[in-house]
Point group: C2
Chain length 195, copies 2
DNA sequence: GTCTATATAACGATAGAC
DNA sequence: GTCTATCGTTATATAGAC
């Protein structure tokens, strides 16, 4: 895991995947969530699939390509949420975004915090143009264009709260629907009474 | 990084450290924050200190011992904050806790999210009795003894928000004092108007 | 306390057979 | 698409000299 080539620019592309590639992505996703990217070896992915490392390398040339493929799945879901939010007017846009992002985070609770906090993924994102563009759009809706310290801190805390709470030990026993409803409620509190 | 022995029980002990050990802890702390525990090798720690791996192994027998030593530093700070909070009565306890925890998170912003989200550390914490006891005390103050779904979700989101916001790209440019003040303000909003 | 040197295992990655 | 076998590198960890 150490290269420096610039990745693709522009909108996220819907890369078509074979069935074998999808199996790799599914296994890797689960392991990244449990052990992080650095803590997950190609051998672990192969073992989880019941094949050898060589079979995994036949689907993806490098480990980094697997990481990118795993990210693309969730990044495209996030992009869809943003598309839907941006189609709304005024404060409705933010409301729609938060609802959809919380849905997404709860659905994908096993992987979300890894995606948001893993050092390898953070480094990858920093040179991944479509992701950076996505984050710009995300925070434009969240902050409504403002960029004062107060607004930035609020947006950062909400982003971290949504991504981090879904894997928190305190909520492990809660079902998806309860977690979703309660998170939406707490999140709204942060916007109802602005700085 | 793979053992399963139970760690010490009870209150956190103030382990005395030699100067050389402290140098290891400082270097490791910085690297864990940047690359995570799995992404940090003994060689990287040795290089950062300007010594060889053997010198590092003379201070700590295993990598896991280094991880534990790094954790102890911040866990004891957290314990102090908790001691101070528990000395207060009623709602003042929570107010004091949040203020001190936010101070701590901002001061230690380079390492906090690693400490809270790194998979190796999470696994280590799960069998570390003094840490589990500390978390119980922390959430007792945060939730004021309640344990409804609403209260749990709120506490989880606040915990994640504080730990995760301090390293968020949106607040990278903010100085510690601004970040601290704004975070405290947003956090208070979450408690002023309970479920 | 730090060094050189080494043991042993696992890592990412590839070649070539089936 | 998967296998066996292997390459070169790096990982954790140790022995013994200074």
């Amino acid at each position: 895991m150490s290269s420096a080539a610039p990745l693709e620019v522009g909108r996220l592309g819907a890369v078509p995947r074979t069935a074998a590639q999808t199996r790799v992505i599914t296994a890797a996703l689960d392991l990244f969530g449990q052990h992080g990217v650095s803590g997950t070896s190609l051998q672990m992915i192969a073992d989880a699939m019941g094949v050898t490392k060589a079979a995994v390398y036949h689907q993806f040339k490098t480990k980094e390509e697997i990481v990118i493929a795993v990210l693309e799945v969730d990044l495209m879901r996030l992009e869809s949420a943003l598309d839907a939010a941006e189609a709304e007017q005024g404060p409705r846009a933010r409301e729609v975004l938060l609802t959809l992002v919380i849905d997404l985070a709860v659905q994908r609770r096993r992987i979300v915090s890894a995606l948001q906090q893993d050092p390898v993924i953070i480094r990858l994102f920093a040179r991944h143009k479509p992701f950076l563009a996505l984050m710009d759009r995300l925070f434009a809706v969240l902050t409504d264009g403002e960029s004062s310290a107060g607004v930035r801190v609020r947006a950062a805390m909400i982003s971290a709260a949504i991504g981090g709470a879904v894997t928190h030990p305190l909520v492990m026993g809660l079902d998806d629907e309860t977690l979703r409803t309660q998170m939406l409620h707490v999140t709204r509190q942060l916007f109802e009474r602005p700085a």
